[in-house]
Symmetry: C2
Subunit: 255 residues, 2 copies
């Protein structure tokens, strides 16, 4: 219980917030352990003498913090005793990947089909012998002379048809695949590594031999959890850095 001042005092804040705080406090005190079921909405109506709407609003806040999750016909389960995922990435989200691609021209210089050998299969999280389409190109800032990146894109063989639509628009390739092949992008995993540029790359990028470079590998997974595209971007360190922002997302009051 620990009804926490329901009697009369509005105490300045909405009732559903008081209910949410009371429930959160009971979760944190261990009265509702992680993994257990919360009392039903009807129970909370009785416990706090509020309407079901108010209880639902309180629970919705807690769900927004990732602390509980509801399931029809079953109940509401406690998922965490602390708010999770308080921060979201705002810049350099996927829409900014989109932005990046719009401001940057990709010139494809080579396209071929490849059969994955051991190294490539490891990189693409696939099997040896699997067929992929490979695009190799250079990215230029609109109007710039030196490329800002050397790009290699691998597209799973079954989505190769999307590549015929590339020239027309300067959209990201994953967008084209989504549209043409009817697949939905669900997740992008990104890995950033520092490397020493090999001589050929350094020459193409127009930097001194032995210069450092930033390698960004992005893997695109569909809603069916299938890896359908892998992009490898090699940037000259002196002309590229990777910026992202994590912003406080929500506490109980502001969602």
């Amino acid at each position: 219980m620990s009804a926490s001042s329901l009697p009369g005092l509005p105490s300045g804040q909405p009732r559903y917030l008081m209910v949410a705080q009371a429930i959160m406090s009971d979760i944190q005190s261990g009265q509702y352990p992680v993994g257990s079921m919360l009392p039903t909405e009807a129970d909370f109506c009785r416990i706090y003498s509020v309407s079901r709407h108010t209880v639902r609003e309180a629970i919705r806040r807690l769900a927004g913090l990732g602390m509980v999750s509801a399931q029809v016909g079953v109940g509401t389960m406690v998922k965490a005793h602390q708010p999770v995922s308080r921060y979201v990435q705002t810049a350099e989200g996927i829409s900014d990947l989109f932005q990046y691609v719009r401001e940057v021209d990709l010139r494809i210089v080579k396209r071929q089909e490849v059969i994955a050998d051991k190294d490539l299969a490891a990189l693409l999280s696939g099997k040896v012998g699997q067929k992929w389409h490979a695009l190799m190109g250079e990215r230029y800032v609109s109007g710039g002379s030196d490329p800002i990146a050397l790009t290699t894109v691998y597209v799973a063989a079954s989505y190769g048809q999307a590549l015929d639509h590339i020239p027309g628009d300067s959209q990201p390739i994953y967008t084209i695949i989504e549209r043409v092949c009817g697949v939905t992008l669900q997740e992008v995993r990104q890995e950033i590594t520092a490397v020493t540029l090999d001589d050929a790359s350094a020459k193409t990028l127009g930097v001194a031999l032995g210069s450092p470079g930033l390698q960004v590998v992005r893997k695109y997974y569909s809603a069916r959890n299938e890896l359908f595209e892998v992009g490898i971007n090699l940037h000259p360190a002196e002309r590229f850095s990777h910026v992202s922002t994590l912003r406080l997302n929500g506490n109980l009051e502001t969602q």
Copy 2:
């Protein structure tokens, strides 16, 4: 208008979703331009012949997609004609920064006060002559012998008292500052660059001279938008890469 099939057919989905889709469609068609005010909730009740609760649920969904935002006493403004920020970063969010720090020991080797010269002021987005606390140290994977990073942390002078609490616990420094100084972390800006390690750093990190390194600079801003900490981490490329995941967050149906 463009009421889109309200008459009788439930069409399998909740009414508020149909309303949300209808409004979204009218936003995208330009009937409700970005920057303009949406009709009032009462209007939508009449337009779609639904209760206010249903209208509010529809608008709440659109707000969740970042397309509209409501203001008491004023109205609901159209913010975008497409859902924004469909993806959130799940791994390498701030809780994972936390995780990272817990798995890694930070050995402080030097602590001093510094007065910002021109270069440092630029790095710290501060003014020349400003006073900062500087901590220099090395990060080790628990039990490892070679450091995984050389770290320099700058803390604004007014928060220096927090640094006296470092030895006890292996929490991130920003957490200590939050707790000791009563400030709230609001935003972290992160910049990743590839560099060539200078000889001293390469030697300390135990890698060959001239090896590439990954430099990660994180700036911590308070709720008052004050920069209170800057962390600079220099990693050997061969032992460190930066991984993050962006996951599809929400469409109209699933939030």
